[in-house]
């Protein structure tokens, strides 16, 4: 691991200020960042440890929603009584990811910022525009089976790895930030994550030093909550495809994981053949949401797999609702 200097931030604004410098990074749980530092993929010159900031509470908001501090661990968020009762799709998505040890350490803010798991991003011997801008993309003609089918570009086809973020997308969660000058922003997930275009190394719209302070969930949407993840082994693996669903009759919402550079949701597709039997409805929703898909030969299977997964989710939910 390359050398870096280290400091502990005592206030959010001080943390943002300390991270304005070139090469400085926040560290919270560190479960992804330290792995990437050992592999010489991340090379921070300065780490600002934010673990002592008071951003670890889950609190009710005035409108009946929930605010989740950026340092709330995955375990604590999935276990929170209000999350289990009102936002079950979020609990389910979190516990579908990683292992117990990692969920105990990983944080809400860090989960949003975890980096791609594309094998070419991880192999420093091979070109990767996300790791070394302008070097090329070995995945385009390589082993692309796990990678994205939509929202990609000729520069990058890596998929977003988070399960939690897919549930946050279906729940219309927003990301709250703080900058060194004391101002903050509230960003919808689609405004928080960039699509790769020709700058796949820029994954979010965060500015230098801008700190994620938390995530806000709107009032509970009700309905039946399901997170269904399909992967190569039953546990401790990233999604090939996943479906986060909040099923509420005609107002049902669906977000998809494992298939795009950010959690994928197309609101206009959600009303497609609402009320139809599961297979027909799933086909209509996926056809509409993935009309612009550009899969490779190796990952074209993801679209029919997603259609069948959504069909299973719809069948499961209708069974529960009976």
């Amino acid at each position: 691991m390359r050398a870096f200097t280290y400091e502990r931030a005592l206030t959010p604004q001080a943390a943002a200020g300390a991270t304005l410098a070139e090469g400085a990074k926040f560290i919270a749980g560190g479960t992804n960042l330290l792995d990437l530092m050992k592999l010489d993929i991340e090379r921070p010159a300065h780490l600002v440890d934010i673990n002592r900031l008071e951003l670890n509470a889950v609190t009710d908001t005035a409108d009946g929603g929930l605010h989740v501090g950026a340092l709330v661990t995955n375990t604590d968020l999935a276990s929170h009584p209000r999350v289990k009762a009102d936002y079950a799709v979020l609990s389910r998505a979190i516990v579908a990811g990683a292992s117990g040890q990692i969920r105990n350490k990983a944080t809400t803010g860090g989960n949003l910022l975890q980096r791609a798991r594309c094998p070419y991003f991880y192999d420093t011997n091979l070109p990767c525009n996300k790791r070394e801008p302008g070097s090329g993309c070995a995945a385009l003609t390589g082993l692309s089976r796990p990678l994205a089918v939509i929202g990609t570009s000729d520069a990058c086809i890596a998929q977003h790895p988070s399960d939690m973020a897919v549930a946050l997308r279906v729940l219309d969660a927003t990301v709250n930030t703080l900058k060194a000058d004391g101002t903050g922003r509230t960003l919808a997930l689609d405004d928080f994550y960039r699509l790769p275009g020709d700058t796949p190394h820029l994954e979010t719209t965060l500015e230098a030093g801008e700190l994620i302070t938390g995530v806000t969930l709107p009032p509970p949407p009700g309905g039946t909550h399901v997170y269904r993840k399909v992967r190569d082994r039953a546990s401790y693996a990233f999604a090939l495809v996943s479906v986060a669903a909040v099923l509420n009759g005609r107002d049902s919402r669906f977000a998809f994981g494992g298939v795009a550079p950010r959690p994928w949701r197309v609101e206009e597709a959600e009303t497609a053949r609402a009320g139809a039997e599961p297979d027909a409805r799933a086909r209509a929703v996926i056809d509409a949401a993935f009309a612009d898909a550009r899969p490779t030969e190796q990952n074209a299977f993801k679209i029919p797999l997603l259609r069948r997964t959504l069909s299973a989710v719809l069948a499961q939910a209708s069974g529960e609702e009976k």
């Binding site: 050398a3 870096f4 560190g30 792995d35 609990s91 350490k105």
Partner: protein, 183 residues
Amino acid sequence: MTPSTPQLPVTLRVNGVPRTLTLDPRVTLLDTLREHLHLTGTKKGCDHGQCGACTVLVDGTRLLSCLTLAVMHDGQAVTTVEGLGTPDALHPLQDAFIRHDGYQCGYCTPGQLCSSVGTLDEIARGVPSHVTADLDDVSFSAEELRERLSGNICRCAAYPNIIAAVSEVHAAQNGTAQPEKGQ
């Protein structure tokens, strides 16, 4: 060619004993335990968070000591396999692992034991898992144990014996978490 970085003071309470060190910020909690405190019970397996061999308990919670820096844990309590029990006074899980032949080559065992202690506590606290049917009713089962210990890899495939050992300890505790020793 690596520029020198300022060394930082770190105090950890390791298996009940305060230990003060001066460390390069790069030193992981795992390397602190093994190379600086010579507590070699905790094993370095993959060193990338994939195998679970380095699992320890920090303030009673299981985590991967390879994926965290010692300086991030200043003032916290760390329990390693050496702090669970001794040859003369085994932790109930250590005793059950022996009787059920859960050790095999043993390289994964310290992580399996620390992870099992943390897992029983998480079940008692109502932390859900991927296989929990009802989020509000987290209960013990072999299926829950298999899922919750899936971050601990054992190439000897001692899994069935480990499940038997942990299940027996859970049953002996009548569904309540074992108070952790060394804390």
